[in-house]
């Protein structure tokens, strides 16, 4: 993300020409004398385009992002203080929605499940894809096929993935048939609320492996081979080299993966919705926070105000999770 600054900025040796350059009107072809070229690279003063061009380039993006992300965000915050419904404008009701939320048992169930999801899904998603990336890193014959194949669950729609696993985990499904064969007996993966949540987590991990594997692959490509070789010469085994060379080298990527996966785990919807049903299993035991937002806020009688308050909670916790992970990383770096 910080690429631009280093690219467009002047190299450390060259003095930065500040405001000394006269603006060159766009389209004027002047001979490229050396100082002019250097200034063009330094950019700030020279205009190589019409003043309106950047805004024409940006207009579609700003319009969509502003209209369908930032405006809805602001109206979510505003709505959370009203009693708006799908078809009626709301009246300002102060913090009533938030008060109600605190006393809503479903809210606590949803919050619990969403947080459990983070705890259950993030550690395997930080570690397993790294091991997978190491496995497919070497250029062996056929490795491209394996990489693409490992990525397939990422490509498939979450609905397809959900339905596939519902069939596999069914009481009469493949996995129970195998468990039956080894004498364990039928396990109610989809009927017990706790097991169902665990099964959904397993599916999320399974679907996410390939995605994070790719991120790790990009990071591993930047680890110098020499480090491994030097370490090997010193007699370190594979495990030792993994811990002393690979892990420290990709630690910032591990933090990125932790941040990304915890944010998406907290917002889980589809896996649980598909496996437990729209209402989150019997008694809503398996409802997650986002499922609750969808249940409460949509439909003709949707309680937009209350759903907005729930949404604000989702947003705040998401942001909090991200900051928490990033901060943990900074602390570690300070110690190092």
């Amino acid at each position: 993300m910080s690429d631009t600054t280093s690219r467009s900025g002047v190299s450390p040796g060259a003095p930065r020409p500040e405001h000394t350059d006269a603006p060159v009107p766009a389209g004027t072809a002047s001979p490229p004398s050396e100082p002019v070229r250097r200034r063009a690279r330094a950019a700030p003063g020279i205009r190589t385009h019409l003043p309106s061009s950047p805004w024409l380039f940006l207009a579609p993006g700003l319009l969509i992002v502003g209209g369908f992300s930032l405006y809805p965000f602001l109206s979510t915050v505003v709505n959370s203080f009203t009693d708006a419904r799908t078809l009626t404008e709301g009246q300002f009701v102060g913090g009533t929605n938030y008060q109600e939320l605190v006393h809503d048992a479903m809210f606590w169930t949803g919050l619990r499940n969403s947080l459990l999801y983070v705890l259950g899904v993030v550690p395997p998603l930080v570690i397993l894809p790294l091991l997978l990336a190491i496995l497919v890193q070497r250029h062996l014959p056929g490795i491209a096929f394996f990489r693409a194949a490992f990525y397939t669950p990422v490509v498939a729609s979450v609905v397809v993935v959900g339905l596939i696993w519902v069939w596999l985990l069914d009481d009469r499904g493949l996995i129970n048939a195998l468990l039956e064969a080894v004498g364990v007996g039928t396990v109610g993966f989809l009927s017990d609320p706790w097991l169902l949540l665990l099964s959904a987590m397993a599916v999320t991990v399974w679907k996410g492996l390939g995605y994070y594997m790719i991120i790790y692959l990009a990071a591993l490509a930047n680890v110098p081979r020499e480090l491994h070789e030097a370490c090997a010469v010193d007699g370190a085994g594979a495990v030792r080299r993994f811990l002393t060379v690979t892990v420290p080298a990709v630690r910032s990527t591990m933090v990125l993966v932790a941040a990304l996966s915890s944010v998406s785990a907290f917002k889980v919807f589809s896996e649980v919705y598909l496996m437990a049903g729209p209402t989150g299993g019997p008694g809503g035991e398996d409802t997650t926070l986002v499922m609750l937002v969808q249940q409460v806020g949509t439909g003709l009688s949707g309680r937009v105000g209350y759903a907005s308050a729930l949404s604000v909670v989702v947003f705040v916790i998401t942001l909090g999770l991200m900051l928490l992970v990033l901060r943990a990383n900074r602390k570690k770096e300070d110690e190092a």
Binding site: P54, I64, G67, S69, R138, A148, L163, V166, S311, F315
Partner: protein, 286 residues
């Protein structure tokens, strides 16, 4: 020259048993990642006379049939759903590639007052989780009278802030000298964008295209909220509907899922070279 290459290969070669172990591991992971899809495919091909709950389970159908596919298409309009999905996905690819490339180019290559502000707008949009604004988006769509339309499904994600940032990074990574030369030769911003900058970021553009297609084709939550009329359903919503209606006929559900996932896997298999290269170029970096 050739001898040198060979020499290097020999140095890097690992012992045979470790190579074998590596391939065994690769195959084990392959079974875990691909196996469930194969099982689904197998179920979809099993005839009505065959017990799909039989033990021991068999991956190869005894009575191979494509009848389940015909049945699924008869019961729910799978092909109409697929067409709806295709329309949304294709439009999403187009709008994302064009919109994100334009905005990314302006952010990376143009200097103007307000650039920082524009950047902040995109970063903030990236930080806002879709899930926490979907109710407000739903209300906005109602006000625009776009609820229950495919345009309504498409609009919120048609230019992703994330894609804008990806394109911005890609443009920033391209050496500026050629563009300068073009500028000196009198090329305007548009010409430099189309003829010089865009061709240099094909890899990232491919990544954006694939992500945009997958995102639209796979999306479940937003279409579920926007669409209510069965004739407008996308494939994912249609499948969920199929699952709800025919939970006890697993063969039909399996056939439906295969229809939904095969085109995407085929597309990905064709594009994966560009995809992995594009990602490797540093599109996804912390």
């Amino acid at each position: 020259m050739r001898g040198e290459v060979k020499q290097e290969r020999r140095e890097r070669r690992m012992p045979r048993w470790r190579l074998l172990l590596r391939y065994l591991l690769l195959l084990a992971v392959l079974a875990v990642t691909i196996g469930p899809f194969l099982w689904q495919l197998s179920t979809s091909l099993k005839g009505a006379g065959e017990d799909i709950y039989r033990y021991p389970p068999s991956l190869i159908p005894r009575h191979l049939t494509f009848g389940n596919y015909a049945d699924v298409a008869e019961i729910i309009p799978v092909w109409d759903f697929a067409l709806n999905s295709l329309k949304v996905a294709a439009a999403n690819v187009l709008t994302n590639c064009v919109g994100a490339a334009l905005a990314g180019y302006a952010l990376a290559r143009m200097r103007f007052t307000g650039r920082k502000t524009a950047l902040v707008v995109f970063v903030m949009a990236m930080l806002v989780p879709v899930e926490s604004i979907m109710i407000a988006q739903f209300v906005t769509m109602r006000e625009l009278q776009l609820n229950n339309t495919l345009i309504g499904v498409l609009l919120p994600a048609c230019i992703g802030a994330m894609n804008v940032m990806l394109m911005r990074n890609a443009f920033a990574g391209v050496p500026y000298e050629i563009e300068q030369a073009a500028f000196v030769d009198g090329a305007n911003a548009w010409q430099r964008f189309v003829r010089i900058a865009l061709p240099s970021v094909k890899g990232t553009l491919a990544v954006v295209a694939i992500f945009a297609f997958m995102g639209a084709w796979d999306d479940f939550l937003w279409p579920l909220i926007v669409l209510s009329d069965q004739s407008k359903f996308t494939l994912t919503i249609g499948l969920n509907f199929l699952h709800g209606t025919f939970a006890d006929n697993q063969r039909l559900v399996a056939a439906g899922t295969v229809i939904a996932v095969l085109p995407l896997i085929a597309l990905f298999a064709c594009l994966q070279r560009y995809f992995f290269r594009g990602v490797g170029e540093g599109a996804v970096k912390g």
